[in-house]
């Protein structure tokens, strides 16, 4: 029990960092992703192209590469390098938010495609503006369709935060690794795994409630 506490206590500190990256990424990448979704549906070809290239690059390259690029790579760029130099934690949040925005953009795009054209037509003949149609009619239906995929992606996000250990951010896995190396027992890995499971349990519960609310 004493050993359990010795391993757990530093990890609780790391958990704060893990949750920080998780929550910031979640709340930044969802609206950002929806913004990209709207861009892919824009009338202007150039805006479509920007969004599509962004999504292609973010989904087509490893998240770990993106992390390394933001933290180690961008500061070395000529001219703009000094402006693009970030500390470990913000660098991690930037890389994660951009990466996850691309995935959420595709999820929401699928959700929008599932909304029947008749919903837009009914809104139009009732006199609703495009904005009112989007906010009051289309988005609630998009959310319902997207929720299962968003749940999936959110669970993956929590687990992916462990990747930031590569740029030296001291999160849960960082402390687990340290304890395993120091004490030559795998116990700390199990404790770390348990922490991820507990948080994912809560995430699953929250999304289940949301799905019930959006069951119409």
């Amino acid at each position: 029990m004493d050993y359990f506490m010795t391993v757990l206590l530093p990890m609780i500190g790391g958990l704060g960092v893990t949750m920080g990256i998780f929550l910031i990424t979640f709340f930044v990448s969802i609206p950002l992703g929806f913004g990209f979704t709207l861009m892919t549906r824009s009338r202007f070809k150039i805006i479509n192209a920007i969004a599509e290239v962004f999504i292609y690059v973010m989904r087509g390259t490893p998240l770990m590469l993106q992390l390394l690029f933001v933290y180690f790579g961008m500061p070395l760029l000529p001219v703009i390098g000094p402006i693009l130099t970030f500390n470990r934690f913000p660098a991690a949040c930037i890389a994660f938010s951009l990466n996850y925005a691309a995935y959420f953009a595709e999820i929401f795009r699928g959700g929008l495609l599932a909304v029947d054209i008749g919903q837009y037509e009914a809104s139009k003949v009732l006199g609703l503006s495009r904005f009112q149609t989007m906010v009051r009619v289309v988005i609630p239906q998009m959310i319902r369709v997207s929720l299962p995929s968003v749940t999936n992606e959110t669970i993956t996000l929590l687990k992916d935060t462990a990747l930031v250990t590569i740029i030296g951010v001291a999160e849960v896995l960082h402390y687990a690794k340290a304890a395993v190396n120091r004490d030559a027992t795998p116990f700390a890995y199990l404790v770390a795994g348990l922490l991820y499971l507990v948080i994912n349990f809560v995430i699953t519960l929250v999304f289940k409630k949301l799905e019930e609310k959006y069951d119409f």
């Binding site: 029947d116 008749g118 919903q119 037509e121 009914a122 139009k124 003949v125 009732l126 006199g127 609703l128 009112q132 009051r136 009619v137 609630p140 239906q141 319902r144 959006y214 119409f216």
Partner: protein, 252 residues
């Protein structure tokens, strides 16, 4: 001045080189119930959708209450389009109720957002129109719990909430089980008796014959024949019209 509610002159419309509407002209007077009949692919739904800007015609003129929606093939500005189509309501084949909203919310959404109507006023109108279609007891129901006939009656009540001068019906009973069409047609007949101006694209020959004041028979993108139910059903001028009405009427 005795103005036509809807006046259509020389309307044309193509989809990918396939001409769906060829030189369509007709007028609708206040209180008319116009049944638009014809085989599928004759252009009747496209015609109806052009009137409320769900499709944009390529050529011709549409006037609603004397105001142009499209003039000699040129659409008016988007803000003007909104104004011109505002006095019209539409009922769709597939109802298009908002599935995430209750019946009451379906009815009140547009009055609240578009007309900025007061809550008490909206509630009273909501009650009146739901009673009119016989569904006041469903006021708090979600659409998915309703039968097809009930959904369509709610859709009619939703359209009535905006107090339209003209109601367009696009095959309102075609998606319904045969035993549910009666309840929808009864509501429409009541509206006709209250002198609501209606344009109804339909395959219901009984309704066209019994309720409509004027019938347009469309065939291959043109109005082949136009007249009273008696003209069309008893004394059709064209063989095509005679074949069509007899083939459908025999089914009843």
């Amino acid at each position: 001045m005795d103005q036509h509610v809807i006046q259509v002159n020389n309307l044309t419309k193509s989809f990918d080189g396939n001409q769906v509407l060829k030189d369509i002209s007709f007028t609708v007077n206040r209180g008319d119930v116009v049944a638009i009949i014809g085989s599928s692919g004759s252009g009747k739904s496209t015609l109806l959708r052009c009137l409320i800007d769900l499709e944009q015609a390529d050529g011709g003129t549409i006037l609603v209450d004397g105001k142009a929606l499209i003039e000699n093939g040129v659409s008016v500005s988007p803000s003007q389009i909104k104004k011109v189509i505002a006095p019209m309501g539409m009922v769709f084949q597939h109802f298009n109720l908002f599935p995430h909203l209750t019946v009451r919310e379906n009815l009140e959404l547009a009055p609240k957002l578009v007309k900025k109507m007061k809550q008490a006023e909206m509630d009273a109108a909501c009650e009146r129109h739901l009673k009119q279609v016989g569904l006041f007891d469903k006021i708090d129901a979600m659409p998915k719990t309703l039968s097809g006939g009930e959904k369509q009656r709610v859709a009619i009540a939703r359209a009535l909430m905006m107090e339209p001068d003209v109601l367009l019906f696009d095959e309102p009973t075609s998606a319904l089980d045969p035993e549910l069409t009666g309840e929808v047609l009864a509501v429409m007949q009541e509206l006709a008796e209250e002198h609501m101006t209606m344009l109804v694209v339909t395959h219901e020959m009984g309704f066209a014959r019994g309720v409509a004041s004027k019938i347009l028979f469309m065939n291959q993108g043109v109005i082949l024949e136009e007249g009273t139910p008696e003209d069309i059903f008893e004394h059709p001028k064209h063989d095509r019209t005679r074949d069509f009405v007899s083939s459908l009427s025999n089914k009843d």
